[in-house]
Symmetry: C2
Subunit: 546 residues, 2 copies
């Protein structure tokens, strides 16, 4: 016996319809690639998305074909989010920070038919256009005045001209909510990038999860500025969530330096933002150098990498900005956990609270998790046992795009995240390492992230990576690789002494090496594989002595 | 092309699993029918729900059959919510305030197989048991010590004995999320009651909607006390939402007087509650008579009937408790709208804010609405035009339970609510009347609710109903029916003069009659049909003169 409620599919177009009908006057503000500030409403955005859907139709984009974007966070990108998915095609957001060859590989793998791109990526697209045989049309996301006089790209079209010429009547089609809506490739520090194909259903459920009070807690009174890119993991779903709740949304475009962000926060009265630690580092540095304060910012969401404890304190204690430490990945849409205190934790002192908030947090409804050891046995939630983190839920990947049938993404129905983590009895998960980065010493695991955070709390250290290097007795021992701050200096012995009392003795790195620059990947993560290769022959000082 | 995310059905059991795994220590506190306070955790509740699912199996309850409850808000009722729906059967919550004959009719119509009921309803069940041929077993929701020595009910079983004897291992089955989960009948002031059959999917989507920040805004730090009954519209989904977010939940049992509620609010540190205006009236009166204050209450949700403006002010201005005025009905699961300010409304002065918050509010994502005139033409959202309110959404009814095929619940895909409302340009809906209660005077509509609210703001008036009575020239004119407060007195002319300047002149009631008691229906609503019958021959003073 089925229930007798209305059968309405969960479609991305329903978010747009809600925003237009119930929050039509709400603003969308964008710092444009062209340099100026653009401002319009959800009503305008909905009307232009309909025009854009007609443009897609005119470009012969059939339902279920793939349309790519190479763009910053901005209103035209948001129009593409809704027009492409809403009309039944698949939005493929490309990460411009990838190597051009890798980009071309991804476009070919996904068989992207149209490529929409921002003005700043014109040189990049000119460079790779010849390598993109699947792309039938290139659309530059700008107006006639900013179009290049000549370009090496055949069939280069102008976004604004196309949109203006199109009719604004378009009925968003109804279809199965399991239809693919969007596609994002993992950055792939090892092997080829892998595509994650989201559905309308997974996107809508994820949007509910993101908007919940203990997640981003988005509401119509909020002004949200997503620094996390729309070209990667859909800006944590904020372009969708803003429509769901009617929040004002502010797009920073390409200017993510501290000064540009701070100015936008203040002029647009931003109350909530979200980004990776490196961006916040720049913002905090700017604000503190100039003795400024945030006059409207109430909360910031930090994810993408572990939030250094010092940053948490700086926001909370010095600036009165609450920090929501979150975790997720491309394969989880991405929102998985957030470190928002439970009622029972409100009695904790400030230091204890910080140590809870420094964790990646507890599961939003929809996501479940567990930790297992190397042989698959589930480990207890005691805050100490660390194991491979496995997750599942309706917005977690089932398998990769175009993966051969024998390639299973899941293990017993759970997705192995590749992270090593602990879970405490309150359900707060803390990542201690990547599975491939964990240092195995004498049969025990040493988490590299803790060791790196300690090193980075030393004033002379700009960045630190901790890797395992071979050791005759212990299999592996930790080696600390350090990039010092410009003008600062610190010695090996001083750094090793710096660990005293901060971790168990056997966790302390055996040695330190200094490098000019720690290599970073396309999403700003340290490339430890390269470091491991480079230092695979490193002779630890006591490798014979023990 | 389908997305490649995990295919997980939206099931009520997933809420329970989340609560147990991620909020196992969170508390559930109940004032029991037996008189004492009961306290346990989500972990305990989940374990007992599994036992109860085994009890249902032992009682031969097959999936998709209907199990009824006649119970107050309490932990055993919550166990039934999860065990019955979670195991694939249908939970039918009966409203004990209905007439016994109507209850028997509903049980027969739904073909309820088992009836679980609270101790307070033993006399009622003894009275009607013989009229319930479909019911195979009666289970009294209490322990052995409270079982009656003898009872007229054959096969009367003891809840605690059954639960304690059952195994606590039970795997919640996976099935189609469109499967029916629960059933609730409308109170039916006219005609036979009609059943609304919810599904797991509609319930889960509704739960997301209820928990969103601009709805109830439920979070793990919150302690929620639902006064709205679990026997009607699922206590606005709070037993589900508490599990989704891990909020502490406090059940008041049968004691809904001001003193009992206030004590529970204080001892359990309740931060959020929800109820109909009549309950809050009693609570406010108690608090103000005794010069008390709320030490933890931050927000109260008021729905079920329009919140009188005076109550809104009392909570906000005198007690610092925010009021969320909401609207919904059995057919909408029930959550539809909430009057939570938008960002653009934060600049309003206090009086203007009150007038926005006195409206029923704007749509939560998922629900859409429109207003139409008698001929079906859509009316503008100008805050003045009033028309029949139509809604739709994935938790809105498609058709009534066991309705004959020719009986359509919808008009062009929209559900006619039976309310008359305006919608302003911000999307805030305000109910001006029930369609059947609207007073049609000279081709224009007069909303009875406004007129009643004004009368009820007079200190001598306990309750007021405004009905249309026949008029030779204007078709209908308003007649005010008044029940005065004990010991208070007010005259006809004084009340009519009281309207001066408060509404348009032609809206002012033509006459006033005083009654000892205004008749109320099973959900506390005024029975205007009875009043209209009683006063159908009432001669208005100027019926000849105009």
């Amino acid at each position: 016996m089925h229930g007798l409620m209305m059968d309405q599919p969960l479609l991305i177009s329903s978010l747009l319809r809600h925003a237009e009908r119930h929050h039509g006057d709400q603003q969308i503000v964008s710092r444009r690639v062209e340099g100026d500030i653009h401002r319009y409403t959800f009503r305008d955005m909905a009307a232009r998305s309909r025009r854009l859907a007609n443009v897609l139709r005119a470009l012969d984009v059939a339902p279920r074909t793939v349309v790519a974007t190479l763009a910053w966070n901005g209103y035209r990108h948001m129009e593409l989010y809704y027009a492409v998915s809403g009309s039944g095609s698949v939005l493929h957001t490309l990460n411009p920070r990838l190597h051009p060859d890798q980009l071309a590989w991804i476009v070919g793998h996904a068989q992207d038919q149209i490529l929409f791109f921002d003005l700043s990526f014109l040189p990049l697209v000119e460079q790779i256009a010849a390598q993109l045989p699947s792309v039938r049309a290139f659309v530059l996301m700008t107006d006639r005045g900013h179009m290049p006089a000549r370009s090496g790209i055949a069939n280069l079209q102008c976004y604004e001209e196309l949109v203006e010429a199109a009719a604004d009547r378009f009925e968003w089609p109804l279809f199965d909510e399991n239809t693919a809506s969007s596609l994002c490739y993992t950055s792939g520090t090892t092997g080829d990038p892998k595509g994650v194909l989201y559905s309308h259903r997974s996107t809508l459920l994820h949007t509910f999860g993101v908007a919940l009070p203990d997640s981003l807690g988005l509401r119509a009174q909020e002004t949200v500025l997503p620094v996390v890119p729309m070209f990667h993991v859909n800006a944590w779903g904020q372009p969708y969530a803003a429509c769901m709740v009617g929040a004002k949304i502010v797009f920073p475009g390409p200017q993510l330096d501290g000064k540009s962000l701070y100015e936008l926060f203040e002029t647009e009265r931003v109350t909530l933002s979200s980004g990776v630690p490196t961006v916040w580092q720049g913002l905090l540095a700017y604000v503190e150098q100039h003795g400024l304060r945030f006059s409207t910012m109430k909360r910031t969401v930090i994810g993408g990498a572990a939030c250094p404890p010092g940053m948490l304190r700086a926001f909370v204690q010095r600036h009165g900005v609450a920090v929501i430490h979150g975790w997720g990945m491309t394969e989880t849409s991405p929102f998985g956990t957030a470190a928002v205190l439970k009622g029972s934790q409100l009695v904790l002192g400030e230091e204890e609270r910080f140590s809870v908030q420094a964790k990646q947090g507890r599961c939003v409804f929809g996501i479940d998790m567990k930790i297992i050891d190397d042989s698959g046995v589930e480990l207890p939630w005691d805050g100490r046992s660390s194991g491979h983190l496995m997750v599942r839920g309706p917005w977690v990947i089932e398998r990769y795009f175009k993966a051969p049938p024998q390639q299973q993404a899941l293990v017993d129905g759970w997705f192995p995240t590749g992270d090593v983590a602990t879970i405490d009895r309150d359900g707060f998960m803390q990542i201690t390492d990547r599975s491939k980065d964990v240092i195995k010493s004498g049969g025990e695991w040493i988490g590299s992230i803790d060791l790196e955070n300690i090193a980075m709390s030393h004033p002379a250290v700009a960045m630190a990576a901790c890797i395992g290097v071979p050791h005759p007795k212990w299999d592996e021992r930790p080696l600390l690789v350090v990039q010092t701050r410009p003008g600062a200096a610190v010695g090996r012995d001083e750094l090793i002494a710096f660990y005293a009392g901060k971790v168990a003795k056997w966790w302390i790195p055996d040695d330190v090496v200094f490098v000019a620059e720690i290599p970073l990947g396309a999403t700003g993560k340290m490339l430890k594989t390269e470091l491991r290769k480079r230092f695979s022959d490193h002779r630890l000082p006591d490798a014979e002595g023990r």
